[in-house]
Symmetry: D3
């Protein structure tokens, strides 16, 4: 199947067997199109963190291959969030379609400065490649919606808490206890939780 | 002024005097933010072609420098269009927020195939780098709105008709008459028109 | 066949089945060579616009793959031209071998400045990536010849008039009439012409 | 000073005022050299996590500018670790000079697979760009030492725990409590700790 | 002066003070033009190796900056040669305008295969980036001429014999004697010769 | 076999049939690991030039593909050397683990400046992409050891003397005699020697 040829680790997708090898005479407008229903709210109740990311990357639209761009819609429940995460291969530019978002990113060592803003409808914010960033809907009653462009056809996403505490197999609790300055039993408890990403 | 240091010809923006030379201790969240009012309809009556493009590139958001991404909102009047144009340094991924759009791009020589679709709200389409593309709102009563991500902090835009018939100074009518298979007086008439871009 | 694996839309050629997969022990000097007869005038009578482009790209010389370079010879009839066109993936540097050329490119929106020169034998001019450019032989009696280097193994070429008025299927005449400020019947007439590229 | 012109957020370093503008006649071997004492053990007692990273990037060796490479030595105390971190702009290849290391990286969503190994002296491991990775010295008595190459002259480093719980100003505890499935008072306690990076 | 800001060591030219900082309103067609007299034979009598390279790079044509392309004309005396050399930052595609050339490049370790051809007028050959290559005019009576495109605005050129035996200061004769399997006095004699490059 | 798909001429490795096409579910930590024994001295007696390079590139560690990094250990006999060579696709940063090294690189035409240093244990030096460079152990009694990072997963290496005098088939002695200012019989004698690279 097409999916089987993607190298999903951390590499740029340079080659897709099922697509690039396609006879170009057989490429059609369908390869550059998706009836993505990006206008439709997604049900954020399914998400523990109260958000759903709909990412349209090269796995969803084959024509994106080599083009260095993708698009996402993010739905936020009231008090929902897109928790701290990074894109290993992309920068992001986001605008708020509905609601309000408290957003930010943290600069790298040694400063670890938080650059943050409260965004209203129509505001725009930029998250540089590889930096930890988040969006949170502070409104307890109303949902929020954002649209974002990403500078890769396969940006990848790493939800920090999930990768750290929910990896399979788990990272040694010695490592995590020391890194997070907590006791090993706390790490063990965290690793026993259910970590689902919001994609 | 800051604007004066941008090299706007056709080069990637590699250097912005007013920004990159800034002491990084003085960089703040403001450099990554814009109160862009992307949620607000623009008045397409000002545009002969019935559309307005609001492009947020590195000239508008200095923090985009080197990040390879930008974002645009396009407003379309009823029967308005974003006329055939290219981005010399970017691919584009677009989604329809409101209304309907007839969109397409033309492949390069020798085939010049038109890949086209009618997009409804929530649909997504991709325009590969450097190819001539357009969007047209076929609805005579209702406006349309789209959001697009572009794979450069300075994509550039070349409105084909304007660059060909509206350049300053004009291209020789000998050249254009032969290229477009029309008489020189037709070219002269076209060159005498007013060509304004929709940005 | 080898041709069948090229992705000719707008992507960089990253992969050529018939070549990259070749056992490197079987690669020879022939893969880097072409008896191209670039010294021989081509018959420009075959061309409506009075020019013939001989482009040596990766489809012609497999060893160019990934090397980011190609070479072209252009023959111009008296009063012939290489009509307004763009290369979606390459900049170009050209020198005149024989004759005289009126050349130019147009900068992107909003300025659409025409940068032009009359080139004599031995002069050199640069056309930045993705910008609309042309060359015209103003001499009614003598042909002209140029050689050009291009910064991609697969630069692509889009003849503006052909892509706009000669696409298959045609672009809606609503779109083109508004873009070019002409009546739809003019567009229809143009679309009924024969558009052949000069490659 | 030279330091003041570095753009340390997340951008590639494209421009260094004090260096690139230097008259090339004044560039000497010193610009490509550092008496870095990479052979000398660093005192890991200073580090809460029991490790010290000595990173030789373009800020330390100006001649690295634009060259896409840097080098690091890492010292590990007995039971010390280089805690979970990412490099936003570089992949890494590491070899163990002394001792033993438990190392790993976690793939991106949705799998979050831990790829891990116990490395002995002379073994080599690769950490792909932007992925969360760590090294831990499981030996309670002996230190360990590693050398690593990184694919950028300015790789950047983000210590996950520090960026998440030690940013200045802190990230809202609403955001972190939900992301890490803990109570806000736990977040508050964590944010009150001292978070120093090991560089 | 403008020249003083080029970083000529081995880095890509990313920044040119006198040009990129120029107010774009002051950029003109002159920045993309050179009356290079590429049609005129150069006097190869000045050259010990019987060839003259006329390279049009970004130092000669400022508009080439960031465009990734340059152009060269090479004149060869009868029995003259462009001796073994490399371009550290460019691939090359060459065509013969006049005469005959014996050309070749050597693949990297461990094979060191020579890929060679005798080129006649109009033939084309490709030299991949960084590989040692040469052209030699085997005709004892007639000169030869070639034109070449290179995939960088600043390709650089390293004449092997000159860099090895003519560096300033000289490389230790211990190093060269062992590398070239000759006696130190042979190296000393070679280093005492005059090494001028043919650019 | 896997090896058969590598394009070893001078191209970046963009595609590896046996690896990239692998079902990503079958990728494991083993693809990012090598029990390389980089801590073990290699027997330099096998080498005419008194050095052995152990290069860990993408042919040795498949997970390096697309990551832009590799690592090398170099062993030097007393008075041994890594003779003048270039990496066509990588810059290098080197540190001395044991002993002393006289190192240098030569800048490109026209200056051919030698930038050199004597490195002691723990010192670091940078060799820019494509420039001729060397390391020599001046100590007649003690071996030396270095570790180097390289900015490509497939840097390539060209030993200058071997490529020039040991190519298969040999370069014409006319070409080499003129380039190196020696008699053809000297070239013939050199070409009759045995040229083995130290990798």
């Amino acid at each position: 199947s097409r999916t089987s040829v993607w190298l999903t680790i951390a590499h740029m997708v340079l080659f897709v067997n099922g697509f690039v090898c396609k006879d170009p005479k057989e490429v059609t407008a369908e390869d550059f199109f998706l009836a993505a229903k990006l206008d439709m709210p997604r049900d954020t109740k399914m998400s523990k963190v109260g958000s759903i990311v709909t990412l349209l990357n090269v796995m969803r639209i084959p024509g994106l291959n080599t083009l260095g761009i993708s698009l996402a819609r993010i739905d936020y429940a009231p008090l929902g969030e897109n928790p701290p995460h990074t894109h290993p291969r992309a920068s992001e530019i986001l605008t708020v379609l509905e609601g309000t978002l408290y957003v930010g990113f943290v600069t790298s060592n040694p400063d670890n400065k938080l650059f943050w803003k409260v965004l209203n409808k129509g505001d725009v914010f930029v998250f540089p490649q590889g930096l930890i960033h988040f969006q949170f809907n502070p409104n307890p009653y109303k949902p929020a919606v954002a649209i974002a462009g990403l500078s890769s056809q396969n940006p990848g996403a790493i939800t920090i808490a999930n990768a750290v505490f929910g990896s399979k197999p788990p990272i040694s609790d010695d490592v995590l206890a020391k890194a997070f300055q907590v006791e090993k039993k706390t790490v063990d408890w965290l690793q026993a939780q259910f970590w689902a990403d919001n994609h």
